[in-house]
């Protein structure tokens, strides 16, 4: 559905987008992840035909964004980051205006408005001026506009920024429900959300593509080993010593509070069973034994810091 090849965008001498290539298949939800200023919005703006690239090509829904711009725009529903709206218009008026621009005749417009009102929960505010609505509602109006013509592709730039947790959850549910009939590419720097909504993630940093994959794949790239949290009632030195001698353990950090010794164990394999057996053999009271799974946030931070986190212990801090 979306094919990007060697896309670059220069502002003067600065490369906002530097030779990126990726694909999005029909029906996928792809998350575009990156710190602020990474080039996410610029890439999305190129895909929506707002601006042309300096070099490279992009095709959306089979049409080239430069030479077949109108066809691309008809196939895309776009929600810009700032959710720009006309504050003096009422919601229904605004949706009617956008419907006209989309080429929908009167009957089709009214049906479409009824449909998006339903999907985006705008029923209560249809006749209110947009200027009076809260951020959450405005965001939904923007989303409703993007969905109005039932586009094949949805491009959403930071769709949940500024929303409260309930609204974020609702938007997330909505986006997942849309995935069945639409291809969605959304950009975000809110990691848990990208993890929860997207099937695949593309990470951008300083205009370059630094990683691609499912959330699981990316997380695994920085943990070729596991972290264990252990809490036992026993002298710190002895416990640390014993655990260190277990097969596969690379590092042990220990701290004692209130008689209980809390250890963070780094190992190349899952040594939980060995630790349990050790505790039983040594008669230590064991009150916590837990594996820590590396988070996407760690991956993100590493990527941004420049470290390539798939090298194992040396790269872990």
């Amino acid at each position: 559905m979306i094919e990007v090849r060697n896309l670059s965008k220069y502002y003067g001498n600065r490369a906002a987008v530097d030779d990126i290539s990726f694909d999005v298949r029909a029906g996928e939800i792809v998350g575009f992840l990156g710190p602020n200023g990474a080039g996410k919005t610029t890439t999305l703006r190129i895909l929506t035909c707002y601006m042309p690239a300096t070099s490279g090509s992009a095709r959306v829904a089979g049409y080239d964004v430069l030479t077949e711009s109108m066809k691309v725009r008809s196939a895309v529903g776009y929600l810009p980051e700032s959710v720009p709206l006309y504050h003096e218009m009422r919601v229904r008026e605004y949706l009617r205006f956008r419907g006209k621009l989309r080429g929908l005749d009167r009957a089709a417009r009214e049906t479409a408005i009824a449909s998006v009102t339903d999907k985006c929960w705008l029923g209560d505010v249809l006749d209110r001026p947009i200027g009076q609505l809260s951020k959450g509602y405005r965001q939904r109006v923007g989303l409703a506009d993007a969905l109005l013509h039932n586009p094949k592709v949805l491009i959403l730039d930071e769709p949940t920024v500024g929303l409260d947790p309930t609204q974020i959850r609702e938007t997330r549910t909505l986006i997942r429900a849309l995935a069945a009939d639409h291809t969605v590419i959304l950009s975000s720097h809110i990691l848990p959300e990208v993890e929860a909504t997207c099937q695949r993630i593309i990470m951008i940093h300083n205009g370059k593509l630094v990683a691609q994959g499912t959330p699981k794949e990316l997380r695994e790239r920085i943990t070729s080993e596991t972290n264990l949290i252990v809490e036992v009632r026993a002298p710190e030195a002895a416990v640390a010593d014993h655990i260190r001698r277990l097969n596969g353990v690379t590092d042990v950090q220990a701290a004692t509070h209130d008689g209980w010794c809390r250890l963070t164990v780094a190992a190349r394999r899952d040594v939980r069973e060995d630790v349990f057996n050790l505790a039983v053999a040594q008669h230590w009271a064991l009150r916590e034994l837990r594996r820590e799974v590396a988070s996407l946030e760690e991956f993100f931070v590493k990527m941004v810091a420049g470290a390539r986190g798939h090298n194992g212990p040396a790269a872990r801090d």
Binding site: R45, C49, P84, E88, G103
Partner: protein
Amino acid sequence: MRNIQAVMQRELLALFYSPIGYIVIAGFLLITGVSVWWTDTFAPGKPATLREVFFWTPWILTVIVPAISMRMLSEEYRSGTIETLMTAPLSDFQMVMGKYLAALVFYLVMLATTLLYVVLMGFYGDPDWGATAATYLGLVLIGALFSAFSVFASSLTANQVVAWILGWVPLLLFACLAFFVVRQVEGVWRQVFQQVNVIGRFDDFSKGLITTDGVTFFVGATALFVFLTVKVVESRRWR
């Protein structure tokens, strides 16, 4: 074209919603009304013509017409809604044309309110209908040109006030002051000023003189500024 109509309708809605729209019409009516009184146009014995009233109108329009269009593109830039317009299946020409037509329609509504005086004149006297019609044609053409220039000024900046100033200063300088300067200069400059001398051209219209030269100038200059506006809007994509 449906797109042009959609943009035009939305723009007219915004114009009639914002206070600027009403202030402009009220201001224009007030000034025109005062002109009628001040020129003693309805005094008994005077020729039945509105020429003296409309003599000052082009001057007033240089300041008022840019105020109508000042927010048309500037506000879109400032609020970011330009992004939603430029990513919709709407060509830049359709967008500019829709906005221009909205400005023109608003101007025509404003102008139509002065027809009251024409009607009154018809009751009290025997005006030269031909000259009156020509005068109104002249006013329509001036409005068309000034609106096009004002929309062009609006396309150049994100600040409404700057757009207004970029509108009325050149209009005042070239269109109107040319009237005074045209006799003081010679050669090429004289020819240039003769061409852009809107007040002078309007003078012809208000006498009842409709020339192809005059009409062509207004229509051509209007088309030029609409074209330039489209180009400025297009160029924004490439920055």
